[in-house]
Symmetry: C2
Subunit: 428 residues, 2 copies
């Protein structure tokens, strides 16, 4: 019998408990698949007594995750506490210093400190694996790092925050405004303690930044990302988009351009009949494009106990099997620092604005767009029993710069009420 692989699991929330359950339930299967027993040496969490639906008595206990990370009987430190800094980072660093491999689900920590942690791990001859940090149970990190290793990756796209997709699809199907559905989602426990992580696009942005690093061989650069949440999406936008054959998704796109690395996590209109457009509820979907493979699509549950624990187990089993792949698919020191593209690729945009309902208003808007160099594909004015009328414009391909220019122009017309909404159309 080969020597067991012994885990120290820090964090016993939903995912941590899920990992413990799988190991308790599938011990024999895991041994068969990895060639060695996978055992839990010890665990750590904030409170010891809480009922987590699993028997923790067979395992050692540490109050301090750093102490857990340093235990002599631990080979792999499994970090499931979360938080970009604080105990998660301290314990991860301690684990690496103590010569342990690390498995983590912590997208925030890696998005902000991934380069330093990866370099430290490689110096120590250890690996950091993070399948569970991106798109839950979908093995997208593996598909990109290993499955597409023979490709020059051309683009990574995806819907990677289930909560946002739940909110957007629920608004559409129930005809409910954002605030109502937000409250529903909160009551259902779908939102992070800080909801901005979800609805502000930050959580999804962290995930995209990690995939972009692997895809393009660049250092993680979360701060170089164009980031916009779904808080300003109204039920009207969703309806108007549907009228034109689109659905609104919080869509991540990363691609290398002549102007640098473009990373966006923003609401987009996508064709309603495309695989992304058809994505319902909390499901995640990632599209990977490579020069040889073309486009592959992966779809599955992006969160939840089982799916996320499944991803953690995949990393653990890889380590048990002896697989050693660098954190971001190539040695951290060889990752380049590609400049962030200052302007994103041109695209058509959907614009919605409220106009004073008086003669010449529409002409003024059209003139502003023309001055900004934006040509109009479709324009539609709705009749309403109020003093303002919503106007929709679908532009031909244009840039954010031109749009910002137009925004300023709108303010000077005296007929545009409030701030226009502009949503990129990703015609995939």
């Amino acid at each position: 019998m080969n020597t067991p692989l012994r885990l120290g699991i820090a964090g016993l929330g939903t995912v941590g408990a899920g990992v413990v359950k799988i190991i308790a339930r599938h011990g024999g299967l895991l041994t068969q698949r990895s060639g060695r027993p996978v055992e839990i040496a010890a665990v750590s969490a904030r409170t010891r007594d809480k009922d987590r639906g699993v028997d923790l008595s067979p395992y050692g206990w540490e109050d301090d995750p750093v102490a857990l990370a340093q235990r002599d009987d631990v080979n792999v430190f499994v970090e499931l506490m979360g938080g970009s800094d604080g105990p998660a980072k301290a314990a991860t660093e301690a684990a690496i210093s103590a010569g342990k491999d690390v498995v983590t689900a912590n997208k925030a920590m890696l998005a902000l400190h991934g380069q330093a942690l990866a370099e430290a791990a490689e110096t120590a001859g250890r690996v950091i694996r993070f399948e569970a940090a991106v798109a839950g149970g979908i093995p997208v990190v593996k598909a990109l790092t290993e499955g597409l290793a023979g490709n020059r990756v051309t683009r990574v796209m995806g819907v990677m925050n289930g909560t946002c997709n739940y909110i957007l699809t629920r608004m559409e199907h129930a005809g409910l405004p954002y605030d109502t559905v937000f409250d529903e989602a909160n009551k259902l426990g779908y939102l992070e303690a800080d909801p901005m992580l979800d609805v502000g696009g930050i959580d999804a942005g962290h995930k995209l930044a990690l995939l972009a690093a692997i895809a393009f061989g660049t250092q993680v650069n979360f701060h170089g990302m164009e980031l916009e949440g779904i808080e300003r999406i109204s039920i009207d936008d969703i309806r108007h988009a549907a009228d034109m054959g689109f659905r609104i998704k919080l869509l991540g796109v990363a691609q290398m351009t002549g102007r640098g690395l473009e990373q966006r996590m923003t609401p987009c209109l996508v064709p309603a009949t495309s695989p992304l457009g058809r994505l319902e509820n909390a499901t995640n979907m990632v599209l990977l494009e490579g020069d040889a493979v073309g486009q592959i699509i992966l779809r599955g549950a992006g969160a939840g106990e089982g799916p996320t624990a499944s991803a953690v187990m995949s990393d653990i089993l890889d380590i048990a099997r002896g697989t050693r792949v660098p954190t971001f698919g190539q040695p951290a020191r060889t990752l380049t620092t590609a400049p962030a593209a200052r302007v994103s690729t041109a695209a058509p945009y959907y614009l919605r604005m409220e106009l004073e309902d008086r003669p010449g208003a529409l002409a003024k808007v059209a003139m502003v767009l023309g001055d900004a160099g934006i040509s109009i594909n479709r324009m539609r004015q709705y009749r309403h029993a109020r003093t303002t009328a919503p106007v929709l414009v679908v532009t031909h391909k244009t840039t954010r710069d031109a749009l910002d220019h137009a925004r300023k122009g709108f303010a000077g017309t005296g007929v545009v009420v409030g701030e226009p909404v502009a949503i990129r159309i990703e015609d995939i």
Copy 2:
């Protein structure tokens, strides 16, 4: 600089040439990702002079693939010749005996000899990898073997023969009969030299048998599969199915049941709005279900130079990185010999038959179904300006046995003309 990984590539058809191109084009990238140069030591094919769009002059040449497999300067034998036996098998065996790792795209060879080859490789301490054998560029072998390694896999399903899906969707969209579209596909070069490999479901069946072995820890058992091709699917069936909200797919399903391992590769009706139902043209789609991860779906090109070469490269890079996973995810000697389920799980069925257009005909059919214990969900008779009328029946859940019983009954009624068509409805 680490020692290079040196390949011997046997077979320079579309896929082989594609692999050579990727290595020539992406040398630096591959070295960065795998930590060592990936080089071609020598190649082999039936004819040396043919123009394959790649410069082969830098590489050694062997007329005999067995000699290639045994070369001292080869670490990995890349078998891209095809054919379940003959040179492919001889060279693969020679490579293993000579201590080489093997990468192959050969589903037929592995579906028929996978157990023996895997055992030989493991005895020799070598690996056999076959990502390219299943679903082209989609990294489904990796997703299942590694990504879902923490799961008890409950079911594997998929559309894994692009040619069949092309034929079925083309029939539907163009309203053309099977024979016409078959000829088209043949002219387009979509069909194997022996078309039965495609339209008879054999090629897709080979793929499913390989996935089932990984999923359930069982020895590959292609002969235990229920296999039916698409040759008997008529444009009428496709239209009737569409009327009822279904599309016809050549669908593979593998699941472990109380009665043994169920493996089917047969035409099925699937809901038109499901991800499988929406699959167009030559695209492949695989659904993997695990007890932790739930259902994940992978979609992409199932064939072609780039996608298949991408999969071959994934295996090569894994070997270059030092990844060693047993052929079927666990040591070949630990794979069990699960009995094949004699009868497949009960399901609703679509039946189409031609009835003599005379009083009492329909009643006779209904009576036969009742006698066979098959209850009717929907029944529809079409009017035609001829002496027979097509009748469609959608049954409630029933078994193949009951259907076979009913078939015999139909023959005795004297009103059923020809052989009824029965297609399983997979309500996923």
